[in-house]
């Protein structure tokens, strides 16, 4: 009897410990579930993360922010002869184009055993440039004038212009022609609803990465299993489970309870949550921080008479103690920004005008601009108008709300009145920022790629107006002819050193004129189990999952 009692106690204790998982499965908590699994329809971080495990782009930016081949064998460049500048017929938008020849990995195969060939490239291009296919960013496909098939694995792309990014095909998400062509040709307009990526997501023929989708619970979980036809190095785990838990407190609880092994940095905890988590549970998990290309800034509306004055913008920036905010709120994990160029980018310039915290300088600039402190402590001009404006951001974003409160308090000390007026993200981004309805400053972030030319955010033709149907993302309304010329020139300049000079000048102008008040580049936090190694965040928009075969279990 006593023996049975002991056995019962052991079994009971084991049941309390929860299910034991072998290390052949990795369960990753993510805060978002992809709306679609189609590589080229909708742009979502959750989808990019999934596709990193299951597909490979032709090229990508790696951890050193260098362009590298993933599905191609060798990166074609003008220097190695893989790309050739060619004249375009008269009447073309540009005088010259470029012919780029790629060779696909010889062993690259879809998960059903069908080889990946140039037929898939052609099909992807056809879908991408079709007006009704629903592909989100069609510009890259429409720039392709023709694709010459050389053999099953080699093709030459003819582009309608020469820009320095000519050989970057990072977003050319390959589609399986042998499965998708018939569906697309039957009804291109309905293709986005009928694609097998969403109607038959576990079809192995859709995937060609180290993993393929084996099972899905829509909205909740995606089970990936090793792809037997993967040509590269074998990944460490038999299975990977992506478990979507939108609430970050619940995400944390799931990690602590052992329901998930790690929280992805790309789609996980906010930085302040991760710092608090590390303080409490740093002995059980490895928290990896990586500054990324999310440029957090304050966008002034140049239609505002107050903020169109450069002296006021400079005073506002001098009056913000960004280092202290970073230390106090983010444990110093963010990178304070000088301009919109990330310090990890090769063309980053350090020798531009900087704005260290200097309240005396801020006061002097405000006085010079005609804003004098009155007996009530607030500044006003000679006409009696108070130095007052609003700051707007996304309601519910705790970090931004905290930052706004600190800014309000730091500016109040100088007699500047700031009202915080936050809105739900869809209203803020969908209308307020897009239609330039903010009367003061808008606090938000831009996500960009390595060496991203800021055409959409700084070029004067990109100011959203009613006439252009609110297109463009230069929401501040900033205009500078020299900036426009620099942007136009740097896009087509192939010489890296010449481009460096242009970038240098652009950053100088940015720092001097402050088209936006730079705050910092956000950091991502990866919460990893102590036994997992090899995850190396890129800091750019390309996911760690693209290098999943480097992830290793260590005891």
């Amino acid at each position: 009897m006593r023996r049975y009692a002991r056995l019962f106690l052991i079994l009971f204790a084991m049941s309390l410990c929860g299910p034991a998982f072998a290390r052949d499965e990795l369960r990753i908590g993510v805060a978002q579930y992809p709306a679609t699994m189609h590589p080229n329809i909708e742009a979502m971080l959750a989808k990019s993360y999934l596709l990193g495990f299951t597909q490979r782009p032709i090229t990508t930016y790696d951890q050193a922010w260098e362009l590298v081949c993933m599905l191609c064998v060798e990166l074609p460049t003008i220097e190695n002869g893989g790309a050739v500048i060619e004249p375009l017929p008269e009447g073309s938008e540009f005088a010259e184009g470029v012919a780029i020849t790629f060779t696909l990995q010889p062993d690259a195969t879809w998960g059903d055993g069908t080889p990946i060939t140039t037929a898939d490239v052609i099909f992807t291009w056809e879908v991408g440039r079709h007006e009704e296919s629903g592909v989100v960013s069609g510009e890259g496909y429409r720039r392709i004038l023709a694709i010459d098939v050389i053999d099953d694995k080699t093709f030459t792309i003819h582009q309608d212009r020469v820009d320095f990014n000519y050989n970057a095909f990072n977003d050319f998400g390959l589609l399986p022609a042998h499965l998708e062509r018939a569906i697309f040709e039957e009804n291109p307009r309905e293709y986005r609803h009928r694609t097998l990526f969403d109607t038959d997501s576990t079809n192995p023929g859709l995937w060609f990465g180290p993993y393929r989708v084996a099972q899905i619970t829509p909205g909740a979980e995606i089970l990936l299993e090793r792809n037997p036809t993967w040509w590269g190095e074998q990944a460490a785990f038999e299975r990977i489970r992506l478990i979507a838990i939108e609430n970050t407190a619940a995400l944390e609880a799931n990690l602590l309870s052992g329901s998930i092994d790690m929280i992805s940095g790309e789609l996980g905890l906010a930085l302040d949550q991760a710092i608090a988590f590390e303080t409490r549970h740093g002995d059980r998990f490895h928290v990896l921080y990586k500054p990324v290309l999310f440029y957090e800034h304050l966008e002034p509306n140049f239609d505002s008479p107050i903020l169109s004055d450069l002296r006021v913008r400079r005073a506002l920036l001098y009056a913000i103690d960004r280092d202290r905010i970073n230390d106090q709120l983010f444990a110093g994990k963010q990178t304070v920004a000088l301009t919109n160029v990330n310090p990890l980018d090769w063309m980053y310039a350090e020798d531009v005008m900087a704005y260290p915290y200097d309240s005396a300088q801020a006061v002097a600039l405000l006085e010079e601009a005609g804003w004098h402190e009155g007996p009530d402590g607030w500044r006003a001009n000679d006409a009696g108008e108070r130095l007052s404006f609003s700051i707007m951001s996304t309601a519910g974003d705790r970090s931004r709300e905290l930052v706004e409160q600190v800014l309000q308090s730091q500016w109040r000390e100088l007699g500047i009145e700031v009202a915080i007026q936050n809105q739900p993200a869809r209203v803020f981004f969908g209308e307020t920022v897009q239609q330039r309805l903010f009367d003061g400053l808008a606090l938000f972030a831009w996500l960009s790629a390595p060496e991203s030319v800021p055409r959409t955010t700084m070029h004067s033709t990109m100011i959203p107006t009613e006439e252009n149907n609110w297109q463009g993302q230069n929401s501040s309304g900033y205009r500078n002819d020299e900036v426009d010329a620099l942007i136009d020139a740097m896009e087509v300049e192939l010489d890296r050193e010449k481009r460096r000079g242009m970038w240098q000048r652009l950053q100088e102008i940015y720092a001097e004129e402050l088209p936006a008040l730079p705050l910092w580049f956000r950091s991502q936090a990866f919460i990893l189990p102590l036994w997992l190694n090899g995850i190396e965040p890129t800091g750019n928009q390309y996911s760690t999952s693209l290098w999943v075969e480097n992830w290793r279990v260590t005891d």
């Binding site: 007006e131 989100v136 307009r189 838990i245 329901s259 981004f429």
Partner: protein, 314 residues
């Protein structure tokens, strides 16, 4: 009775048609559309891309035309595609409704099972320590924020004790789903029990003061029979009205609980659809929630006649 039912059904159909127009209009009037949201996610989108996508998604058409197109398809059983789930909206709602019925049905049954006897007991012992104790528990349930209760439950049962999963839907097996249901059901039930209990208590106190109760007592009817068969039936008429409203609302889901426990129910789905500008999904979800509220109220009307034979339908 048949005439009453037919009339109510016609009224329901008209109300649903009006509601569909109102909901479609309200969603359409909200700032931003799906393409605006795509623009914020992908700064590389060009003006040409945006114009093309607006045409593909039909957003270049006037709102009334889009509504009429939707209504025409809906009458033929085609409720369109959900943009944020890349599936037919009816399929998404079908799955979520099943999950919600499991979650909310379980919570409702548990809340009822607790609130009825406790409410009766509190009314029977009105003003005494037991009544005060039950009231205290009821107010605690009403006033405790659901997200806080959910976090506490997760920390205690999933993190510290490790008895139950912290969230999710399980592996699809009955055992797995039940295991995942326990915490959200209990959390929701605690929040609902207090409210129902207070209604039952108030209504029972009123019923226990009636002459027929005194007569029944004088005739020597046992306490249990007095409470369950004489007082409760009479006390249930106002409670049924409240329960019908609550039960109908249950099908629109519980946003906070579903979010905290990653339970794929109607509440979270409708919320995501509205925030993600998924017209088809939001519309269908809200329509179904409306229809169920109306159906539950119809059932409540029918229940009145069962509870009180003096009620007649005309």
């Amino acid at each position: 009775m048949t005439g009453f039912l037919l009339r109510r059904l016609v009224e329901t159909a008209i109300l649903l048609a009006l509601m569909s127009f109102a909901i479609y209009g309200l969603i359409g009037l909200m700032p931003g559309d799906p393409i605006d949201l795509m623009m914020t996610a992908d700064p590389t989108l060009t003006s040409a891309d945006i114009a093309r996508l607006k045409t593909v998604y039909g957003l270049d058409q006037p709102l009334i035309d889009r509504y009429l197109a939707w209504a025409g398809s809906a009458l033929q059983g085609d409720f369109g595609y959900s943009r944020i789930y890349a599936q037919p909206a009816a399929a998404v709602i079908g799955d979520r409704l099943g999950n919600t019925i499991l979650l909310m049905g379980g919570a409702f049954a548990l809340a009822l099972a607790l609130a009825l006897p406790l409410g009766m007991l509190a009314a029977w012992r009105s003003g005494r320590p037991l009544d005060h104790a039950i009231n205290l528990v009821a107010f605690a349930g009403i006033s405790m924020p659901q997200f806080w209760l959910a976090i506490l439950a997760i920390i205690l049962f999933a993190v510290i004790l490790g008895w139950l999963p912290a969230g999710g839907m399980g592996d699809g097996s009955i055992g797995g789903s039940l295991n995942h249901l326990i915490l959200p059901v209990v959390t929701l039930a605690i929040a609902s029990t207090g409210g129902i209990l207070r209604y039952v208590r108030a209504s029972m106190r009123e019923a226990l003061r009636q002459d027929f109760i005194r007569t029944a007592r004088a005739k020597g009817v046992s306490t249990a029979r007095l409470l369950w068969f004489h007082a409760l039936r009479n006390a249930m008429i106002p409670v049924v009205t409240i329960l019908a409203l609550d039960f109908g609302a249950l099908f629109s889901g519980a946003l906070i609980t579903e979010t905290m426990f990653s339970w794929l129910g109607m509440g979270k789905t409708i919320y995501d659809a509205i925030m993600g500008n998924d017209y088809n999904l939001a519309l269908l979800g809200l329509m179904i929630a409306t229809a169920l509220v109306l159906a539950c109220n119809l059932l409540a009307d029918l229940a009145y006649a069962w509870l009180d034979p003096r009620v007649r339908y005309r």
